[in-house]
């Protein structure tokens, strides 16, 4: 018995190290952007107001630029409303505002925290479930995509940023003649990659890339960026570098978009996936 105890005493440090590392590795490998956002939601409950104050101070110096951007956005929206013949008096500040097709509605929110120099970047917004925000709603700024909501508490929500190596969506050129998969490489905060563009696609530098209707999160034709360069990979498909429209350095006011048929669409897709005949 004493030999056994001596043995345990001898190896307990290594044993405890292996055990703790196994637990930590298991947590890490089983995590996803959703579980990470849930963790952040807990901390935002405590530090959200402090972070909001810090972010307010940081962006105070950028107010001039922000005012210019907001004025341009107001002008753009006024033109849009005029063109669509919508009565703007029906729209109320701080509530989801319906657009013309009534498929999507918009809610403005302020960025409370926004990381953009890590590999896994997240955005915290000052609107939560009490404001009608829910998981998978998209976040846009100036009509360009920023990310989508992962989780929310009563007053705050955490979203995955487009500058997160786990972020993925699909994109196409304006005329819809080619499409590809959009992801972030992890280095430049002004560029994303558009991969798997068909070999024979007519790609031109300067092409505007927008979202497709494949995604339930993003409405179609939300701006992503412009093609900066592209190359043919293994003579099979093209990869392009896309310069994004969103400026994550100065991100302050954003809009959250709610897709009204999201639940119906995802439920139907999940059901079909579950009941689809499987090949052996």
């Amino acid at each position: 018995m004493s030999v056994f105890l001596a043995f345990i005493k001898k190896i307990y440090f290594i044993g405890l190290f292996v055990l703790l590392e196994c637990v930590a590795v298991n947590c890490y490998t089983s995590s996803s952007v959703y579980t990470n956002a849930q963790l952040m939601k807990v901390s935002r409950f405590f530090v959200g107001p402090a972070q909001e104050s810090i972010y307010n101070m940081k962006t105070f110096v950028l107010l001039g630029k922000e005012n210019e951007r907001l004025s341009a956005e107001v002008a753009r929206l006024n033109n849009f409303i005029a063109a669509m013949h919508i009565d703007s008096s029906l729209m109320e500040e701080g509530q989801f505002m319906p657009n013309d097709s009534l498929k999507y509605s918009y809610l403005s929110a302020k960025v409370v925290n926004n990381s953009y120099v890590k590999q896994n970047n997240y955005i915290t917004l000052n609107k939560g479930s009490e404001d009608g925000v829910a998981k998978d709603m998209s976040i846009v700024c100036n009509g360009a995509i920023v990310g989508y909501i992962l989780d929310c508490s009563n007053h705050y929500s955490v979203g995955i940023s487009m500058l997160n190596i786990h972020f993925k969506t699909s994109g196409k050129n304006l005329s819809g003649t080619y499409n590809g998969s959009i992801s972030w490489k992890g280095d430049d905060i002004k560029e994303v990659l558009m991969t798997e563009i068909p070999k024979y696609a007519d790609i031109n530098i300067g092409d505007t890339i927008v979202t497709t209707n494949f995604s339930s999160r993003f409405p179609e034709n939300i701006r992503i960026g412009v093609i900066k360069s592209f190359e043919l990979i293994n003579a099979t498909y093209n990869n392009a570098v896309v310069e994004i429209f969103s400026d994550f350095n100065t991100l302050r006011n954003v809009q959250i978009i709610k897709f009204k048929d999201f639940d119906e669409k995802t439920t139907l897709e999940n059901e079909v996936e579950q009941h689809a005949p499987r090949t052996q």
């Binding site: 405890l16 590392e21 590795v25 995590s31 807990v42 901390s43 810090i54 990381s115 120099v117 896994n120």
Partner: protein
């Protein structure tokens, strides 16, 4: 018991500084200032192995919750706790270590402490940044991130521990 509360304070101070100050310093993707290794670096020399690992695991768990990294910082900090004694022995003789309570720049010579802090920090960033990508596809970029982030974080952590290094062989607030 006083030592416990001192480290509890250090624990909270490092997390608060990271979350409210250093996470908001965003200059480039190559530079991430992370001061979490400082907690493991400054734990008393005579801390029992098990306590050392459990302290690092607890601190890592809190760091993961506030940073939304689910296990990433825990893995790196537990690794630091495991190799800490070995790293210290690389620079300081065993008999000299017996006379030290807290391994800060006041108790160790400045050069030795900087070497110890540097090895621990580089190990921490190597673990974190390789695990973050889980691929060697962008190794050049990841390598530069490790080097630049380590250099800046070492400088910041060295500055932060300076006020705490006045009491060479005593606790941070003068307690033994």
């Amino acid at each position: 018991m006083t030592r416990f509360f001192e480290y509890l304070f250090l624990f909270a101070a490092i997390v608060a500084l990271q979350l409210l100050l250093f996470d908001n310093i965003q200059v480039t993707g190559y530079m991430n200032i992370v001061i979490y290794p400082l907690f493991v670096v400054l734990l008393p020399i005579n801390t029992k192995g098990g306590i050392l690992l459990l302290s690092a695991a607890a601190f890592g768990a809190v760091a993961d919750v506030v940073s939304g990294t689910m296990g990433l910082y825990s893995i790196a900090l537990i690794l630091l706790a495991f190799v800490r004694r070995g790293v210290l022995r690389l620079f300081v003789r065993e008999d000299f270590l017996e006379n030290i309570v807290i391994p800060n720049s006041g108790a160790l010579e400045r050069g030795y402490f900087l070497s110890y802090l540097s090895v621990m920090t580089v190990l921490f960033f190597t673990a974190v940044m390789l695990l973050e990508r889980l691929t060697f596809d962008y190794f050049g970029f990841t390598f530069l991130r490790i080097v630049i982030s380590s250099m800046v974080s070492i400088l910041v952590m060295y500055m932060l521990q300076l006020p705490l290094s006045k009491h060479k062989n005593r606790g941070y607030f003068g307690s033994l």
